[in-house]
Every structure is written in C-alpha cells, then in structure tokens.
Amino acid sequence: MSDTAIKKPVPRPSPESTHYWQAAREHRLELPRCNACGQHWFPPSQSCPHCLAADFTWTPVSGLGKVFSFVTYHRVYHPAFAQEVPYIVALVELAEGPRLLTNIVGAPPEAVACDIPVKVVFDDFEDGLSVPKFLPLNAYAK
C-alpha cells in the first residue's frame, strides 16, 4: 500500500511561472526584473506591476529576506500534511522587495517571529521538482 501514500500537491505552473519552477529545479531563485524601472516582482507575469513595461529579464535574487508574517497549521486540511503539523507557512519579504508565500524550516514555531532574517533553501520534491523554502538565520537554524 505504500505506493498509494497520499502525495503533497505539486505546483502546476502557468505559462508565466514555467521559468520560475525550471530555475527552482536547479536550486536557483529567479524573479522577473523590469528592464525599464529595475524593480522585481512576484508572482510572475508578463508585465511589470510597478511601471507596466513588458520588457523584463529573469534575474537571480539573493535568497535573503525577512519574515513579514507567519501562521502555524495545527489542523490538517490535506491528508498529505497529516505528519507535518504543526508546520509554518510564512510570507517572506525578499531583500529585493517581493513577498513570497513559503514554509519556514529548521526552526520550531516558537523560534519564528515577524521580521527575523531568513535565507532560501530548496526542498526537493519528486521528479526533480524543487520548492524554495526559508531557514531562519539565527541560533535555531540547523
């Protein structure tokens, strides 16, 4: 029965996000950066939400940021997360500006707080897929 174990949902990319997930497979965090105004944005789209220019380049970012806010799941909404609770879902504000929904790993919920610094790590899923998550840059980090 082990091969029927319930799997976590995998990202199902849109045309706009295909590059993002391809870079993540190679453990690179890349965001669209506007060639007109220089700002980054997320989630990916074909035009800059800061200046509406449609000219951009996928650009690696530092992977550094801070926790803007976070929540801790105690309830199981999806059976694949039954063994994960309590787990932390966070909104991380990258040094480059955009905010990403993600998980905080390597720290218990009581060690996580708004505004603590974090850095990206990649969590490999099946079939080469990898998902960016964040690790606190403090004493609790593994």
Partner: protein
C-alpha cells in the same frame, strides 16, 4: 480630491428585510434559501413580488447567471438586474447599486440578497469536511500555495493577526473578548446557530486551527440567506415598516493584494469607510451600532480601527474595555455575527443593521436610542471592502 456624491444621501431607504432558516438546513439549495429570504423580505415590506423591478444578488462562487436564476424562481422580469463578484463585499455593493439604479430611474424597487449552503457543502462527505473549502476546484490556487500546505481562509486572515500582534502587542485574550461578546449577543437571538454561552476560558482551551487562530476565532459554517428591499423614500412612506434611510456608502478594493503593502493590518475598510462617512456627512463618533464583517475575530479588531472607533493599534484595549457589548461604546454584531449567529457573508449584518434602525426589537436586543448603524462587508481575496451607513431618519 474626489468625494462621493452627497446627492445620494437619504434618497433611498430599506423597506424590507428577511432571512432564511439559518445553520443546518439540509436538502435546500442556496438558490431556494435565497428565495426563502426574499419571500420573507417582500412580506416584511408589505409588497407583492410583482412590485419588485430590480434584482442585485450573489450566490456561490461557481454560480453563473445567478440573478437570472433568482428572477426565474421569483417569477419576475427586471428592469435592472445583475449578480456581483466582490465576495463578502458584494452584499453592501448590491444596496449601493440599487440606490444608484433607482436614482438613475432604471428601477423603482430593488431586491438585494445573498444565500449560501456552506454547512451542507462542507458536510457532504468526510473529505469535504476536512478540506473545509466552499470554492469550486477550478478557482483554487494551482501554485504558490498548495505545495506549502497553504489552504483556506483561516490562514490568510491569521497572517494579519500575527502581524498586528507583532506591531501592537495585541493578544489572544483581546481576540477572545470579541468571540465571547458576540456569543453573548447571539444568546439574545432565538434564530442564532449557537445556543450555548462561551467563556474566555473555553476560548483559550479550544483546539488551535491555524495559529494564532483557534476554533472560536473562526466564523461558522452555515446554510443561510438574507435579503433586503430598497426603494426611494417617497414610496417608502406608504409601506408597512419604518423606512430605514440609506445615508451613505463607500467601497474600496486593495487590488494589489492582501499580502501587499500594509493591507493585512490597515484594511480596505479605511478608505471604504471614509467614503461612506463623507457621503453620509458623519464621522465615527456618530455611529451608535456597528455590524462588522466578522469572518474571524481579528477582522473585527482591524476594521474598528480602520473605521476610526479607536486609533490603529489600539483595537485590543478598545475591545477589552467592553466597547462592542450591548451598552458599550459601539455595540457590535448585535445578532451574534458570523462568529455566533450564522455566516452569510455579511448579508445578515445588513439585515441586523436595518432591524436596529427600526427600533422594533425587545429591549434586550435593541441598542438604546440608536440613530446610526454602520455595516461592513469584506471579501474576495481579502481585499474588497464596502461600507453602508443606515439612519433611523
């Protein structure tokens, strides 16, 4: 600076209000629940269904042509009808559109309403109960969420609660006071879903759902519908109920997103409320009772700050003072709200605001001497907001 037109102040009135059976109503579709509420509102107003020539409504998120289905069930054509797409902010927007349509001469008597079957929908199977999701699968996120175990409205709102606690030292005790106060109000309402008292100790003992929210921070799952009827004030004079004046309304939509800017702490209620206050020519000190969209305890706290009942960041001490209780500074969600009466995406707040302005409740449910009621609506992806200001005269 653009200001909302004061020409719409006191032009129209709410002349009928009704609700359906609330809570667990198995075997009845959301459409039939809404028709039940509309039938009650039409009877309440002393009108015939053929007097209605406008429909502005909303149903479940997957529903297309909703107003057409409602008109078919009511057996009427309409000079003006549409269904809305602003989530829990739609119900007040319906009244705003009705007022504008009547002022524009496009309709005379508009029925507005919303119905949902969320109790039945989330109890249709064990899996549906676990997922606790009322939206159709086609509208759920495909990426940037589910892979992280991010599901549901509880977590989305809890992000705001965490941030508010971080910035201002707001506590779960203060959130708990909101849940306890509204439960106390619900016990005065025989139609409310929740029938037992709730103590602050029970609030803290309840299981966490998505921290910082526990069970009693979360609104109910309900089968529920409500409806109101809007007409101009001259027509309103001849009808059965004391007319409740539409003094002002406003909307604002933080379309850059709940996660953008400071939107999860200073919500769209700030600008939506400012517009409504301007149209009505009043300010927060004039509001005698508030009916606030309480999908979660924290959203009450954030909105009462945004509406100016207290300063941003002072919502915790404000609610802890008992301000939201009957006899408090601004008795709020006097029928129990979505936390304890039934969750009808703001529609029952609207109905309760109207009833408070009629002064026909027994003394224990009536906010004494209330002349102005403020009603709020919040929804969509947590960024759409609407405010309605009702007056006794």
């Amino acid at each position: 600076m653009i200001e909302p037109s004061r020409e719409l102040r006191d032009v129209c009135a709410v002349v009928g209000a009704g609700h359906s059976r609330l809570g667990r109503v198995p075997g009845v579709s959301s459409l039939d629940l809404l028709v039940e509420a509309m039938r009650n509102a039409i009877a309440d107003a002393g009108l015939k269904v053929t007097d209605v020539d406008g429909i502005v409504c909303r149903g479940p998120d997957e529903s297309y042509t909703h107003h057409q289905q409602i008109g078919e069930r009511l057996g009427i054509n309409a000079r003006f009808s549409t269904s809305l797409d602003n989530g829990g902010a739609s119900q007040i927007l319906a009244v705003a559109l009705a007022t504008m349509a009547i002022k524009a001469g496009l309709a005379t008597t508009v029925i507005c309403g919303f119905g949902r079957d969320s109790w039945s929908r989330t109890h249709s199977s064990k899996e549906a109960n676990v997922r606790n999701e009322t939206r159709p699968a086609s509208q759920l996120a495909r990426e940037f969420g589910p892979e992280y175990g991010y599901f549901g409205a509880v977590a989305a709102h809890a992000f705001g609660a965490t941030r508010h606690m971080h910035l201002y030292g707001t506590t779960r005790d203060q959130f708990g006071e909101i849940a306890v106060a509204f439960r106390e109000h619900a016990l005065r309402n025989p139609d409310a879903q929740m029938k037992k008292p709730l103590s602050i100790a029970q609030y803290h003992e309840a299981p966490p759902v998505v921290a910082p929210f526990g069970l009693y921070d979360c609104s109910l799952r309900s089968d529920a519908a409500g409806a109101v009827i809007v007409t101009n004030r001259e027509r309103a004079r001849d009808l059965r109920q004391p007319a409740v004046s539409i003094k002002g309304f406003g909307t604002f939509n933080n379309l850059r997103g709940w996660f953008a800017d400071d939107n999860m702490v200073t919500t769209a209620a700030k600008n939506s409320g400012a517009a409504a206050y301007q149209m009505a020519g009043i300010g927060p000190n004039d509001v005698d009772t508030a009916q606030i969209y309480d999908c979660f305890t924290y959203m009450v706290l954030a909105q009462i700050e945004d509406y100016g009942f207290c300063k941003k960041g002072e919502g915790g001490p404000f609610v802890a003072s008992g301000a939201l209780r009957m006899g408090g500074r601004v008795p709020t969600n006097t029928s129990g709200g979505q936390l304890s009466e039934a969750h009808c995406e703001g529609m029952l707040q609207l109905v309760e605001g109207v009833r408070q302005m009629r002064h026909t409740y027994p003394a224990e449910r009536q906010v004494a001497d209330a002349e102005i009621a403020l009603v709020s609506g919040h929804g969509g992806n947590l960024v759409c907001h609407s405010t309605l200001i009702l007056g006794r005269t």
